[in-house]
Symmetry: C2
Subunit: 140 residues, 2 copies
């Protein structure tokens, strides 16, 4: 995160308390967070920080490649540090249970798309939706 601050300034952007707070909030949540929950975390200490600043900062951090976002089933964008990009999630459509899996599972697919189509997939970009074992059992 020291490096992030550096990157910001190197790219000619200003270092503001808001930006630091937002960055810290994303780190602290160690996972995927919506803009709203980032804002909630920040606003818990500094209520005057506006959610539009959160959105603008998230966009900036994305454009700098420091952060990425993922769409879960509800269509809401969830953000996480780009350095954590090497993970993927399975979300159960029925119970909402969420589980992390190793991206290496996706490697064969990645290679295939690359070789077949020259397509560099960002496979961590979306959560994998489906039915978890328990719910499948429940449904008979």
């Amino acid at each position: 995160m020291a490096s992030m601050v550096r990157t910001l300034k190197e790219q000619g952007h200003r270092l503001t308390p808001q930006r630091q707070l937002i960055l810290e909030a994303i780190e602290a949540s160690a996972g995927h967070v919506s803009a709203e929950s980032v804002h909630a975390r920040v606003a818990a200490q500094f209520p005057q920080v506006n959610i539009s600043t959160v959105y603008r900062t998230l966009e900036l951090l994305q454009s700098l490649g420091m952060v990425t976002h993922t769409h879960f089933d509800d269509g809401v964008a969830k953000y996480h540090l780009a350095s954590l990009a090497a993970h993927q999630h399975m979300v159960c459509r029925r119970c909402g249970d969420e589980r992390e899996i190793d991206v290496r599972v996706l490697d064969p697919l990645d290679h295939h798309l690359r070789e077949q189509y020259g397509f560099a997939a960002d496979l961590a970009h979306f959560a994998i939706v489906g039915l978890c074992a328990r719910c499948a059992a429940d449904l008979g």
Copy 2:
């Protein structure tokens, strides 16, 4: 689609012109369509059909398993016939180019998730986002 009408009635739902039109619109678009474009198609002929009816019908068709939806990169839900579920899309983050691929590509992943976690993934639920060959070249 005759079967769809049957399913509707068997499940105790009424057959209305709106529902038929919406179903036809989804079929006609032979792909993934947003609620808004379904509405646009229907409204072209019958302007009095309301978009809330489109949403309600799409939800119904989903609950009956006739239709599914997919989130593309913009977070907007795109609907398609469940019978067409056996396809997947790659979308280029940069140029927006969209390309269909065979889901069989996803079979190994599907098997892995099933065996490892008992998770029945709906792999066609999300488009695969990434960078297409041309854009990758453009960016050097």
